[in-house]
């Protein structure tokens, strides 16, 4: 009997122990879903206080492949074209494109005051909710993490406001347009020559993510093709300042004027002929703070509408809210900040993301002063130089925490001439990497107009590898100041196929029989400069069975014709020709057939 009791006691104690462990685990699991920084804030302010938080879901619900197919069928034609440049047809859609599960959103909605944004890229919703409710939401099995929506200070460079008389250094008649005081900021990037050739960014869709856009009827802005607008802060289509809403349209007006202003004699932006999406993603009314979820929502919006380029003169590093820590320099590693993750996904969809490097000045290596998402390897981080090409002191410096060189490239960021927000014909000189960014984004639009098959990464490579410091890039100025002309006519292999490739079949009569000659001719490609060493000619006999090309001739760079002799009347060939440089790198082929 005694033995039985002891046995029972042991079993009972074991049961109690297991129960205790399970409960403790459940409690700790719930708390683990909420980030430490959010838990700290909740403990400081109390459960009844409201917080802005990201709620991340574990998946996108059932039938993922069916949902992906539905997305494929409804993809915006512009977005489809952009993705086709960037990806294989069978990889156009991935899990990031699938909307967040409605069921998860609706179950969450019951507990929150407001859903601010739903992000399919992060598979999350940003909400305003009480601390107590966030803890309840954490218990849902489909919720994997809850974190604070980070709020940051918006900083402009610490520099005396420029009071400067209007100046222009343009020689009359030198270019098609009179650039007025905006000449130096474009001439430094070698943009006017592309304008002279008739390029203006036409056909390229640029999404501007900024703090708002006032005064769009300004004489330098009223020509713009603005496809649509959206205010992600106040959730309405108006991107200008409204008396009952938060916002500050000055910054956006300045960046928009920089990239696309058009008033000959005053202001011409590099991409004055492009089309625009204007997204207000920054709340700068009084507190001058910005929130990352608006930026990600704006980027997803840009993707939906088929934007080719995002120009973002925003960045996230130093927290506004007391008690929250800043992003550390170690977190500028291209993958940690939410906004960087969003930018990475945007880039994976083929969007070229151009971002200001930041106005945070210098730091002692290995620390950096970058702002997110400029730390991403897939984002062009643009630093600022002055009119003589020297780095400006406020321009942020790299390297990234994982050792990559930043910024990527430089453009003028001091005394940038742009449209003002006050009058219809007022202009201003402004400072900051905020204005270097749209200058480069405009150049990117010109490159894409001329090279519509280039991917976002092709453009980034071309910009970097043709900039004036490309041979010795460093963490002060990156690859240097952009050269729009060189970048536009740069090939990633640094070599282009010859031009005007054609084939003519000639009868060659040998008295008793005829053999045919395919006379191939071409001209040098003006984009090739002098790097062509050889032309390679390949031939493929036209038949269903034969799909392979054979190299039939390697010719030197002074040869512009080749005659393939001894052919019979029933032999037909498809030819391709490539240019090759000394290292043996070949251009893409050009094709012609008999």
């Amino acid at each position: 009997m005694k033995i039985k009791r002891e046995k029972f006691a042991k079993i009972f104690l074991t049961f109690i122990l297991l129960l205790t462990i399970s409960i403790a685990h459940a409690i700790s699991n719930k708390d683990n879903k909420i980030s430490l920084r959010l838990l700290n804030l909740i403990s400081q302010r109390g459960d009844q206080s409201e917080f802005t938080a990201w709620i991340y879901f574990k998946d996108k619900g059932p039938n993922l492949h069916q949902k992906m197919e539905a997305v494929r069928m409804s993809l915006n034609p512009r977005a489809l074209q952009r993705r086709l440049r960037h990806q294989r047809f069978d990889h156009l859609i991935d899990k990031y494109d699938v909307p967040v599960s409605k069921s998860y959103v609706e179950k969450t909605r019951i507990y929150v005051s407001r859903i601010r944004h739903v992000s399919r890229w992060l598979n999350a919703v940003s909400v305003e909710a009480r601390g107590y409710d966030l803890k309840e939401i954490a218990q849902f099995p489909f919720v994997i993490r809850i974190d604070k929506v980070r709020t940051y200070t918006f900083r402009e460079p610490v520099i005396d406001r420029i009071t400067q008389t209007v100046k222009s250094f343009q020689i009359p008649g030198e270019h098609t347009f009179d650039y007025g005081p905006s000449f130096s900021q474009l001439e430094q990037l070698n943009v006017p020559i592309l304008h002279d050739m008739g390029y203006s960014g036409n056909g390229v869709l640029i999404c501007m993510l900024d703090s708002g856009f006032n005064n769009l009827t300004h004489e330098a802005l009223n020509h713009l093709d603005i496809v649509t607008t959206w205010d992600f802060v106040n959730n309405d289509p108006n991107v200008f300042d409204e008396f009952d809403q938060m916002g500050n349209g000055n910054h956006g007006t300045n960046t928009l004027g920089t990239i696309a202003g058009y008033k000959p004699g005053q202001l011409i932006g590099p991409a004055y002929g492009a089309s625009f999406l204007l997204g207000k993603t920054e709340n700068t009314a009084w507190e001058r703070h910005i929130e990352e979820d608006h930026w990600i929502a704006g980027a997803e919006w840009a993707d939906d509408l088929g934007a080719d380029i995002i120009s973002s003169s925003l960045g996230y590093r130093y927290c506004f809210t007391h008690g929250e820590r800043d992003y550390t320099w170690e977190e500028m590693d291209g993958k940690t900040a939410n906004v960087t993750q969003g930018a990475n996904i945007a880039a994976s969809k083929g969007i070229l993301v151009v971002n200001s490097a930041g106005n945070e000045g210098a730091a002692l290596p290995p620390e950096n002063t970058l702002i997110a998402p400029a730390d991403s390897s897939q984002v062009i981080a643009v630093g600022a130089v002055d009119s003589v090409g020297a780095k400006v002191s406020f321009s942020s410096m790299g390297p990234t925490a994982d050792g990559r060189i930043k910024p990527d490239i430089m453009a003028k960021g001091v005394e940038v001439y742009t449209s003002d927000t006050q009058g219809m014909d007022d202009y201003d000189f402004v400072n900051g990497t905020s204005f270097s960014c749209p200058l480069v984004a405009g150049v990117a639009a010109l490159i894409l107009e001329i090279n519509p098959s280039w991917t976002n990464m092709n453009i980034m490579d071309a910009l970097k590898l043709t900039a004036n410091n490309s041979t010795i890039p460093n963490n002060r100025v990156g690859w240097g100041i952009v050269d729009a002309f060189k970048a536009t006519f740069y090939n990633l292999k640094n070599i282009f196929p010859p031009s005007n490739f054609s084939v003519k079949r000639i009868e060659n009569n040998y008295v008793f029989f005829v053999q045919y000659v395919d006379r191939l001719s071409w001209t040098s490609n003006p984009r090739n400069m002098s790097q062509v060493k050889y032309y390679h000619i390949y031939a493929r006999r036209l038949s269903a069975q034969n799909q392979t090309f054979e190299l039939i001739a390697e010719l030197n760079n002074q040869t512009f014709s080749f005659e393939r002799r001894g052919l019979l009347s029933d032999e037909t060939f498809l030819y391709k020709i490539t240019s090759a440089n000394e290292a043996g790198e070949e251009s893409d082929p050009d094709f012609a057939r008999e």
């Binding site: 000639i506 060659n508 009569n509 040998y510 008295v511 008793f512 029989f513 005829v514 053999q515 000659v517 002799r565 001894g566």
Partner: protein, 196 residues
């Protein structure tokens, strides 16, 4: 054996039987041997432009079993000319030669013996092109008929001079293109006769 060759063999057998008949009925067989040399004038203007006219020799053995008729076997050669062909003006050589078997009808009048001849020729024509790019070279044969007329002039016993004009029609088509290698031969020569 192809049809052309069968034809040639038939004609050859017929000719030999015919000749044997004359030999059989003849009292004596006179044999002439001779060598002619002269100009071959091509008919085709395009060929003339490339290769031009040339000179040929002709050596023959003639059996005369009858006062008015002879049988002649001969070989003609010597036409080998260089020319530039094709769009690249490549060096090439054209060569024509052939065997002939002819029946000759003649009449002797003092030192002169005019004659006409009819027969078959078996000609070879070759074209060599000095190029790395040509896949086919020509080395073909063609049988044809031969007509000619001439005059033997007997000056010394046993020896005679020969003057002959001969036409060999020779249209050939080794591949896709037909070409006319026909031409007149203007020949002068020397012969020797003896009796078996």
């Amino acid at each position: 054996m192809n049809r052309t060759k069968v034809k040639i063999v038939k004609k050859l057998i017929t000719f030999l039987l015919f000749s044997a008949f004359f030999i059989h009925v003849g009292l004596a067989i006179e044999i002439d041997i001779g060598l002619n040399y002269g100009k071959l004038q091509l008919k085709d203007s395009a060929l003339k432009d490339i290769y031009g006219d040339g000179y040929v020799f002709n050596t023959y053995v003639r059996l005369t079993p009858h006062n008015f008729f002879s049988i002649e076997a001969s070989y003609e050669g010597g036409y080998k000319k260089d020319g530039l062909v094709g769009i690249y003006n490549e060096n090439s050589t054209l060569e024509i030669n052939g065997w002939e078997l002819c029946g000759i009808f003649h009449y002797r009048f003092k030192q002169f013996m005019p004659y006409v001849k009819f027969g078959y020729g078996y000609y070879t024509y070759k074209q060599d092109i000095d190029s790395d790019f040509i896949r086919f070279k020509v080395d073909h044969h063609k049988s044809t008929y031969v007509v000619g007329a001439g005059l033997n002039i007997y000056l010394i016993k046993g020896f005679f001079f020969i003057a002959e004009v001969k036409h060999v029609p020779l249209k050939v088509k080794p591949f896709d293109i037909e070409k006319d290698l026909s031409g007149l031969r203007y020949l002068l020569g020397l012969g020797f006769e003896f009796e078996l």
